[in-house]
């Protein structure tokens, strides 16, 4: 393992008003590793993920991307333009896909490479085709998102995130709004990404995926990491009662 983790989360806290959603969470994600976050809804796992790429601003704590602090630069708050630059390194996949409906599939994928990275349209299109091929949707490049199934839309969203060549991918319950028969095609793509050595943080209710693919599993409860370890440890022999209860409910 390298000395500097790809993502280091240090004592992140987040409150919405008087509601304390995260109460000090710390963990590292090493390059090429997959970390799954599991836990009941309301445990803070999505908020934690959103704090990492600063869709939510943490109330306290810091996130380091390759050792570089996300929230501060030279001891001062990092300006939004600088945060935008850091966000390029973190691909995000949402529960609701969030494709832009007025652009074609390829348009969605190449938008940020052109406008943010300044790639030429031609180079971006080549990259876009490559990313679409990785999610097995090359033939849908010219379609509009409304014509695709949920599973296809989510795979386009994955391709869109990959096209920025991020250092890590963040998945926020990527299969939770999909019909059961469509989750597999998304999970297959994610398994392949993991196998190819993509650094990933995955918030998920798919216990099978978390067990088979992750290097580490975090069980969140009440805004804190209640249990963490290798999948074998967390799924096979959890120390915490709450984790055991949660798993017995979710592993039929």
């Amino acid at each position: 393992m390298d000395a500097i983790p790809a993502i280091r989360v240090v004592d992140i806290r987040k409150s919405f008003g008087t509601l304390e959603v995260l109460r000090g969470v710390s963990f590292d994600v090493h390059r090429g590793n997959v970390v799954s976050m599991i836990g009941a809804s309301g445990s803070g796992k999505s908020t934690l993920l959103r704090c990492i790429n600063r869709l939510e601003t943490p109330s306290a704590g810091e996130v380091y991307i390759d050792g570089e602090p996300m929230g501060a630069v030279e001891g001062r708050d990092r300006p939004l333009s600088e945060i935008n630059r850091m966000r390029r390194d973190l691909g995000m996949v949402f529960q609701q896909f969030n494709l832009w409906p007025h652009m074609t599939v390829l348009g969605n994928v190449i938008e940020a490479p052109i406008r943010v990275l300044g790639m030429s349209r031609k180079a971006a299109a080549a990259l876009g085709e490559e990313c679409l091929a990785r999610v097995y949707l090359s033939e849908k490049a010219r379609e509009y998102p409304a014509r695709l199934s949920g599973g296809q839309q989510q795979r386009v969203a994955i391709a869109r995130a990959l096209a920025m060549r991020p250092k890590a991918m963040l998945f926020d319950e990527p299969t939770s709004s999909l019909d059961p028969e469509l989750t597999d095609e998304v999970l297959t793509v994610m398994r392949e990404l993991a196998k190819a050595g993509t650094t990933m943080i995955v918030v998920t209710h798919e216990m099978g995926f978390a067990r088979d693919v992750s290097h580490r599993v975090l069980f969140l409860h009440n805004g804190q990491i209640e249990e963490e370890g290798s999948p074998a440890q967390v799924f096979g022999n959890p120390k915490s009662d709450r984790c055991r209860q949660f798993l017995s409910k979710h592993l039929q």
């Binding site: 995000m92 969030n98 007025h102 406008r115 509009y144």
Partner: protein
């Protein structure tokens, strides 16, 4: 009778079109700015935006045209200590542009707020700036969503251009009144004028609706 004067009248209609186009440009740009103010997080901006919308939406266009043409130059003149006068065309464009900017601001605001936050967050997580997201993700969708309502407002604006004859912009209505003073035949002339406006608006608005529907529907399919 109407046919005899067709060249004069056509020139008048062209003036309607000029006023309409210029006022529409003012209304759209000022309306967009007002809408962005209204949804701003800082309350002073929100307050200015709301004031703008309420003032102009609730001002009759006739009074606005007269006020901008006759009162505003006096106020501005007093402020800079020099006599100024607006060309009637300029007054008409300012007055109608601002009145309709109030309506367009509301249309824009509703459109912007109807865009799911997730689309914006997807842009943010790709490293896009807020301005880039507005330009590339939000506004293109807003335009499609607001089109049906906007077309109705454009129709109202075009009809409203007829009142500029009151401050002597030589539009179709103005020309018709002039001809009537010579010929003393209001019935055929006014009726033809009404029919001309009807035909122009009906055909153009219908055509725009037809063309825009297909473009709009592609994203909702």
């Amino acid at each position: 009778m109407f046919w005899e004067y067709r060249l004069v009248l056509l020139r008048g209609l062209a003036f309607n079109a000029y006023v309409f186009l210029a006022a529409a440009a003012v209304a759209l740009s000022v309306g967009l700015i007002a809408a962005l103010l209204r949804i701003n997080r800082a309350w002073p901006f929100r307050w200015i935006g709301t004031l703008h919308v309420e003032v102009f939406r609730n001002a009759p266009d006739y009074i606005m045209v007269v006020w901008v043409h006759f009162v505003l130059p006096l106020l501005l003149g007093a402020a800079i200590g020099r006599r100024i006068e607006f060309h009637p065309f300029v007054s008409a464009v300012i007055a109608l542009g601002f009145v309709y900017s109030g309506y367009f601001a509301e249309t824009f605001r509703a459109g912007i707020q109807s865009i799911p936050l997730g689309h914006i967050e997807a842009g943010r997580s790709c490293g896009m700036s807020e301005f880039l997201i507005l330009r590339r993700v939000v506004l293109p969708q807003v335009v499609r969503r607001m089109l049906p309502e906007a077309i109705n407002q454009f129709v109202s604006l075009f009809k409203a251009t007829t009142i500029v004859s009151l401050i002597a912009v030589p539009d179709l209505m103005y020309q018709v009144s002039m001809v009537i003073q010579q010929e003393m035949k209001p019935l055929p002339l006014y009726t033809s004028a009404a029919l001309t406006y009807f035909a122009v608006i009906y055909v153009v608005a219908g055509l725009v609706r037809l063309l825009s529907e297909r473009w709009r529907n592609r994203i909702y399919a």
